[in-house]
Amino acid sequence: MFGNSSRADWIMLIAFSAFVLAAPILLKPFGAAYPDLLQKFAIYGIFAIGFNILFGLTGYLSFGHAAFLGVGSYASVWMFKLFTMNVIPAVLFSIVVAGLFAYIIGFVSLRRSGIYFSILTLAFAQMSYNLAYSVLTPITNGETGLQVRQLVPADRAADYVFILRDEDLRWVDQAFGVVEEGIPITNLFGMKMSGYPGFYFCAVLLILGFFIAMRIARSNFGMVLKAIKSNQNRLSYTGVNTRPYLLAAFVISGMYAGLAGALLAVTDPLAGAERMQWTASGEVVLMTILGGAGTLLGPVLGAGIIKYFENIFSSINDTVLENVFSFLPTTLQEISIAVTSMFVGEGWHLTLGLMFMIIVIFLPGGLMQGLNHLIGLFKRKISTKSVSADSSG
């Protein structure tokens, strides 16, 4: 985007970090500067960055990435329940579990390409979703969702197997004699991971994830991935076995999703199967293409925009609309309210679907492509001006 030189990359990284860290101040004018929403921006940013490593670089459209997000969440909550409320082990464990899961799914799915690949990943994700709701309820707690609970009373610790869903063990915390009052909150060595500390934890990981994605995109490995996107056959003819590269990309992007899932559990220690549904997979696809697949900043931008509008649109209700349209005559007001209420509140998904279509139809390269076009136009104008100035002078 800004050329391939590493100096431009460093500037971009620093600017990105500065923006992310200063987000609580910068986003205040937009009414988005509260921790819950900022955490969502960062978490889904990570998810989209990871998805972009697969889709943006290799062009393989996975429709089942939410499965890794869900697996990451479950893995984290189990770490909280069994060992400690400290977030570090949970995050690491989630990344490893999601990576392994992605390895298995990728190993099978990547035998096919194109639409077959999309359908295979979709099938695996639906399979995980269905299993999480039915047979795996001892692990996932089915529809209720897996939650962090209070410690098992010492006198009943012997029969823990049967009550683990409702009461927790937390061996490590107990060994260190951590005192809990009520439902415990996740922490980073004693610092509570809710509110702004929680956001900064996610933000640091987002910057780290962005940095790694940037290094991947600029590396030889990234070049191979891009080559797969532009012409996989030709690459195979030159003697490159593409599958290990694809599998590596798939696993890495699965690990990003696992990290995002872990962070969802860190900020709110509850994991439910609905995180694995195909709508969630579709959402990350939309974030990536909205921002611009294949660009570095695009996915984060897309994730932020979608989460922001989701938050705004779904909170608008009829009373708000009445206030907005109060300047109109009554009939017009009623009509405008009837029309707009389709798109807000419960109807937010309609807006999402329309946005999806409009972006794919008119701006297949996403917002970043649009921006680059604008910048390109601007630059060309300047350069033609300077050329004409030279010739006249």
Binding site: I115, M127, Y133
Partner: protein, 341 residues
């Protein structure tokens, strides 16, 4: 033995729905080369055609009868559907048969919708990558289901089969197996209906000139255009036909499964698996795989099997798809050269 027959029967109606949707998917894919993720939404629209048709013909005339009083002392309201007021007993029969009759309503609606969708949206995506086609139709599916949700609400709306087929058929007696094999009539009707539609589509493609041109176009579109035939217009009609098939399948399915706004997506995911198992671009494969997976699914939901492998009923279809794709990369009856790039 009884249990096996019962499970096969159980699979047939669901398999019929899968086969009808998969048939439409394969048709659009084979002719236009477009991967249509909104096809499940067309199935759902068909189901809601049945719902709206039922609402339409059961519009009621309200008469206040001053001679009778309700418990609150107001005049008793007597509600009669207009159709009964106008046609008497025939109107009652029409109301009873609202689901089968709704097909007559669904056909023109879905045909128009399909043609408009093809001309207005899909046409512009012929030369775009498959990923773009998937994404735009996926967006359309969300839009359609949200619109339906807005107007019909989120809860399933039960529809009822005509009284004459409301009960169960004692199939066991016909086959001399005793009383244990009973099966709802409407499901048998649905199976027969899907068989007729599938047969009709095949006959249409096989025995009419129009069908011959379309088949030729599926093989080599460029060659057919060079012969001076407007193949695009025919393909548009085929898209409309696929929409009609999906819509009819949805309308007739309503007594089996009360329609709600997200039924389309549930069926779409399965139908895509069906198409892939059958082989992309093979009509026969889509139908065979539809019935096969429907029957397999019903076998997997038997208690005896579930007790051996818990949860198998939830994942059997996906499992079969994975195994088939890994062993037979083109699916059961896939043609060479379709979707291989």
């Amino acid at each position: 033995m009884d249990a096996i027959i019962l499970q096969i029967l159980n699979g047939l109606d669901k398999g019929g729905a899968y086969a009808l949707i998969a048939l439409g998917l394969t048709l659009t894919f084979g002719t236009l080369g477009v991967v249509n993720f909104a096809h499940g939404a067309l199935f759902m629209l068909g189901a809601f055609c049945a719902v709206s048709f039922n609402k339409l013909i059961s519009l009621e005339q309200v008469v206040l009868d001053a001679t009778q009083k309700t418990a609150w002392g107001t005049a008793l309201e007597i509600r009669t559907p207009y159709i009964e007021v106008w046609f008497g007993d025939i109107g009652t029969v029409l109301l009873d048969y609202s689901v089968p009759l709704s097909i007559l309503f669904a056909i023109p609606v879905m045909l128009i919708f399909g043609v408009v969708m093809e001309r207005g949206l899909i046409k512009h995506f012929y030369n775009r990558p498959h990923a773009d086609q998937i994404l735009v139709t996926f967006g359309l599916a969300i839009v359609l289901q949200e619109i339906i949700k807005h107007y019909f609400g989120a809860n399933p709306i039960p529809q009822f089969a005509p009284d004459i087929v409301a009960g169960s058929a004692n199939i066991g007696l016909w086959l001399g197996l005793g009383d244990s094999v009973v099966y709802p009539w409407w499901r048998l009707v649905y199976f027969a209906f899907s068989a007729i539609v599938i047969f009709g589509v095949f006959a249409f493609l096989q025995f009419t000139t129009f069908g011959m041109v379309v088949r030729a176009g599926m093989r080599d579109r460029e060659m057919v255009s060079l012969l001076g035939i407007n193949i695009e217009r025919r393909f548009t009609i085929i898209f409309g036909l696929a929409a009609v098939v999906a819509g009819m399948a949805g309308a007739m399915y309503t007594p089996i499964l009360p329609p709600d706004y997200h039924m389309g997506m549930d069926f779409l995911v399965l139908s895509f698996v069906v198409v892939v198992v059958g082989g992309m671009g093979s009509l026969g494969g889509a139908v065979a795989a539809g019935f096969l997976l429907g029957v397999l699914q019903s076998f997997a939901s038997m208690n005896e099997i579930k007790s051996i492998i818990p949860g198998i009923d939830q994942i059997i279809i996906y499992l079969v798809a994975v195994v088939i794709l890994l062993t037979l990369p083109r699916g059961l009856m896939g043609r060479k050269g379709v979707m291989e790039d």
